[in-house]
Structure formats: C-alpha cells, structure tokens
Symmetry: none
Subunit: 288 residues, 2 copies
DNA sequence: TCCACGTTGAAAAAAAATAGTCAAACGAGG
DNA sequence: CCTCGTTTGACTATTTTTTTTCAACGTGGA
C-alpha cells in the first residue's frame, strides 16, 4: 500500500483542511511532502498542526515516519514501477481517469491530422513579422483563438484579435494587406458571420487565410489557403477543443523559436511594462 | 554539479572518517543520505559531528541543505523516464508527431493529479443551480476560464465571468453570497490581483473557492476550498494549458449530465434565441 | 436563535536534530 | 620515546522541528 493509495482511500474521511493537504501532497508526489511540516503547511495553505493531524489520521505514527515511507517508496520505485501499475488498476473505474485516457488518445491522433509540412508552412507565415496577423473564432472557439492571440502577442508585434462584435470588423478588414495572415477558428455549428468575413477577406483583401476547423470542414474552407482539420470527437455530448489547444501550443513553441533572442527580449520588456504600473488592462483582451 | 560528483571531487582532501561517510553515502546513493545525521553516523561508523564537518567541508551550509540538494536531484532524475525520451526525439523532422505524443502523455497524467472524489465534489458544486458561479483567470488562463464560462452558460443560469478589469470586480464581489462558487484559474506567474480577489472573497463573502493551478500551487491555495493542481510542464519554454482544458471539458460533461433534460432544453432554447435575431452579441463575453 | 460538536490555528511544550566545544586519541616527525 | 598537530567523539548548547494543548471559530441540528 503506497502513501498515495492510502491518502486516496482515506479521502472521504478528511476534513476540508486535510483535503487541501492531501491535494498538495498528491499534486507533486512524493517530493511535495519531502519538506518540513512548515513548508508543506505553507504550500497547502493550512497550519502546521493540521499536517500532524493529517498524517496521524491516515495512519502514520508521525511526520517522520510518513516521510520515511515516502523515501522508501522512492527507493523501491527506482527499481520497479510497481506503484504505477497499482494506481492504474485502482483508477480503472473512475471517470476522470477514463476521460484523461480518452483525451490523451485524441491528442495523440492530432499528429495524423496535421502534416509536418502544413505545420511548417503555418509556422513560417506566423513567424514572418512583416505580415500582420488577424485572429477570430466562433462563439466557443474564439476563446481558443484568443489563447493563440495572447501568446503570439508575447512573441511578436502586429497581432490583432478581432472583436466579437461584427460591426467592428470592417475597420480591421480594411487595414488588411495582401501579405497579411488571417487565422480563423470555426468548429461545427459553423457561424455564417465568420464565413462571410472569410469570404470578404479572401476575395477583397487577398490576405492568406488559415482555417482551423474539424474534419467536417467549415464552409470557410473554400476561401482558405491552409485548412487544419482537427479531431474534436469525444464520445460525449460535447466536442473537445483539446486538439486545437495542442495545435496552437505547438505553433507557439515553433514560432517563438523562429527568432528566440527576439522573443526573449520581447517577453522581458513585456514583463517590465506589465509589472511597473498598477495594472491598467484592456478590458476585453482585444486590441482597440 | 551533483552531490555525487562533488563528493568524488573532494575525496582526496578527506580524512579517514570522512571517507567512511563518503562511502556510506555513495554506496546507497542518494537514499543512504536521506536519513537523520544520527542514522547516517551509525551506518558509517562515525560520530554525528563528523557528518556535520563532512557536509560543510564539501561545500554545503549544513546537513539540511545537503539533503535538500539530494531530493532536488531525485526529482530532476525522475522526470527522465517519460519526458527525457520525448525531449531527445524532439526532432525537427517530426515535430508535430512528437509534440502530439508528449501532449498526450501530459493529458493522461492528469488522472493522477485529480482524484475522482475531488472531481465529483466540484461537479456537485457546479451542478447546484442554487449557487451562482463566478469565474476568473489570470492573464493567459483567463481564456481557459472563459472556455468554462461559455460552456457552463449553455448548461445553467447564473454564470458570471468576471471582467478582466479589476475596477469592475467590487460590484460582482458584493453580489456573492455564501453559498456561491468562485472558480479561479491561476498558473505560474501567479497574479497578485487575483490572489487579492480570492482573499477578499474567502474572507468577506465566504463563498466556496475552487482553484485550478499547477503543482507549485498559487498562493491562492491558502484561501481555497478546493485546489486542483494540474501538470503544466512541457519541456518547452511554454507551459501547457492542455490539462486545464481537459479538466474543464470533463467537468462540462459531468455537469451537463447532472440534469441532462434541463441542459438539453436550455441548449435548445439558447439556439432558438441565438439564431432568430440577426446576432446581437455581448461584446467581451462577460455579462453586464 | 441557541447549543453542541467538530475543526482549526496560535502558542507553548516537547522532542529532535544540528552545531559547537573541548579533551582524548592518534600518528608523524623529531 | 617524546612532542606537536590533526582528527575524532562525548558532551553540551542552540536551534529547529514536531507535537500537544487549548481557546475560538464555524457548522449543522434542535
């Protein structure tokens, strides 16, 4: 019986504070608990005596014995992944584990949905600072688009996240030049307004359109230069945005590496500016 | 420079007793040294003061720092089995596939960071429509928080996503009642403003605070009733939000299932309303 | 609303670990 | 064989850590 299992088993009997401790211990297991009581108390947000009560409640004679057991596990663990197997078997029945496993499968299937060549082309477009980048997503997917915007802003200038309100679009559209890049996110329940925007951008402004969508392909695809069709199915009532997130995070990594010194410098400047004035933020995260 | 190397390098300068200690430490490295001074002294066949002299001689401030260093090494070392392999193969030619694989691994590790019990408790809180729900995230994580808000809004009423601007918070905070739920997202580069909000909410309004953070634990943990500590490390310069997304999607599935007929009815109504008038959207996705 | 119970953290006590002191033991060189 | 310098461990002081005590607090039930 590992400490982890013991804690899991005792969870139902724990009080609120004790549960916080349990979380802190399990969150960074087992190293999180290889500290003094004080430090663990600090990290868990409870008092030191609560830690003592916690360890005795889950069946140890004292904090030291508890730590000794953890070190013992560590030592055993380095020999055989026994604990891992046990944990896995234990968690077969729960939803979280199951969901995690399924999600992982979907994420790994992303690789077959995006070819390396396509990825590289998109990275090249986004890394080219002579091109402005405009982003927009649908009702739900706009939050994903915004994740990309936020990160890109840290890496390079001229990132424009279009506001949700259609009426504000024309201004932005008019400022697009032919060499610019428009990244659209549109998953099923495709939105006509975005399709319209895409068409206008493609036809009138001739900007490069990158579309991130699902395998059923938003109608925007016909106006897009690059279409990334990601898996979104989950076997639940809800589609998953995981692949989209994984995809944009992969993009971020590569775009930032394209000119890392510049990225680093920019982030540092950014931090300085952010920290000095008492936070004066732009309300909705879009640029004006 | 590992402790082992340090010891090896210093060996020539050691006295007989000190060499005994060195042998004892290296013989069962690093576990042999993860004991009290007394035990190590016993095992080495020397006295406790010799141990003290030994550790200071090889350049540590004291026995504790020495042990801490060892634990640190252990922790670094343990990252290798899964991640190091991935890092090695982070090849240019197949970046997407590698990234997908690593991302999948991280997502599947989510299961060990979130226990089923904890998950169930959070689902119960969010499913309880008598509780209003307030959400907020940090600079980047707010987009994740927003994803949750968006979905929750489709499922149930009284979802309030706090605006990014701090000055608008007091209004919302004042409307919080004791039975309400506040969901905060805060990943490293923890933001003081959010911590302040959390404290005020916990102390003044006594609402239930759910914190989604990373294993280093945002200082908000101290004021939170439920702390979800997710893996975010990626071996890239950027932290990943994948687990956070997977987590909230899992939440969504279960919260929506808690009262599926009601959820379904609500979504249908929602669709009708959304499609009929020529889209009049709320600018930033927060409620007024 | 009030009461009884369980939970919590501050403070103090207890225990332990660690560092310091000093004299004895040891060994090298005379 | 003696002397000096080094090393060593018993003893002690100090610091740190852990545990216990106890009062206050919040919670849930009457």
């Amino acid at each position: 019986m590992t400490v982890r299992e013991t804690i899991r088993r005792e969870t139902p009997n724990l009080t609120a504070s004790e549960r916080k401790i349990a979380n802190a211990v399990l969150a960074d297991y087992p190293y999180g608990a290889l500290q003094t009581i004080q430090e663990l108390a600090e990290r868990s947000g409870v008092s030191a005596p609560s830690i003592t009560r916690f360890v005795s409640k889950i069946g140890f004679a004292g904090y030291q014995e508890f730590q000794r057991q953890l070190i013992g596990e560590l030592r055993e663990g380095s020999r055989s992944p026994l604990d891992l197997k046990a944990t896995e078997r234990l968690s077969r029945s729960d939803f979280v584990a199951d969901y995690a496993r399924r999600s992982a499968a979907i994420v790994s299937s992303m690789a077959s949905a995006v070819s390396q060549e396509q990825f590289d082309r998109i990275v090249a477009l986004l890394s080219d600072q002579s091109r402005a980048v405009f982003l927009l997503g649908g009702r739900i997917s706009d939050t994903i688009a915004r994740l990309l915007s936020q990160h890109l802003r840290q890496i390079r200038p001229r990132i424009h996240h279009l506001p949700a309100n259609q009426e504000d679009w024309p201004d932005h559209v008019m400022s697009m030049r032919r060499q610019d890049v428009v990244v659209l996110f549109d998953f099923r329940r495709y939105q006509p307004d975005i399709a319209k925007l895409a068409e206008r951008v493609a036809v009138n402004r001739r900007a490069t359109v990158i579309l991130v969508t699902d395998k059923w392909m938003s109608p925007i695809a016909r106006h897009s230069d690059h279409v990334v069709a990601l898996p979104i199915e989950n076997d639940t009532a809800w589609d998953t945005a995981l692949c989209a997130v994984a995809f944009i995070e992969a993009l971020i990594v590569k775009v930032s590496e394209a000119d890392w010194p510049s990225t680093k410098a920019r982030i540092e400047t950014w931090e300085t500016v952010r920290l000095s004035p008492p936070t004066m933020k732009n309300g909705d995260g879009t640029d004006a």
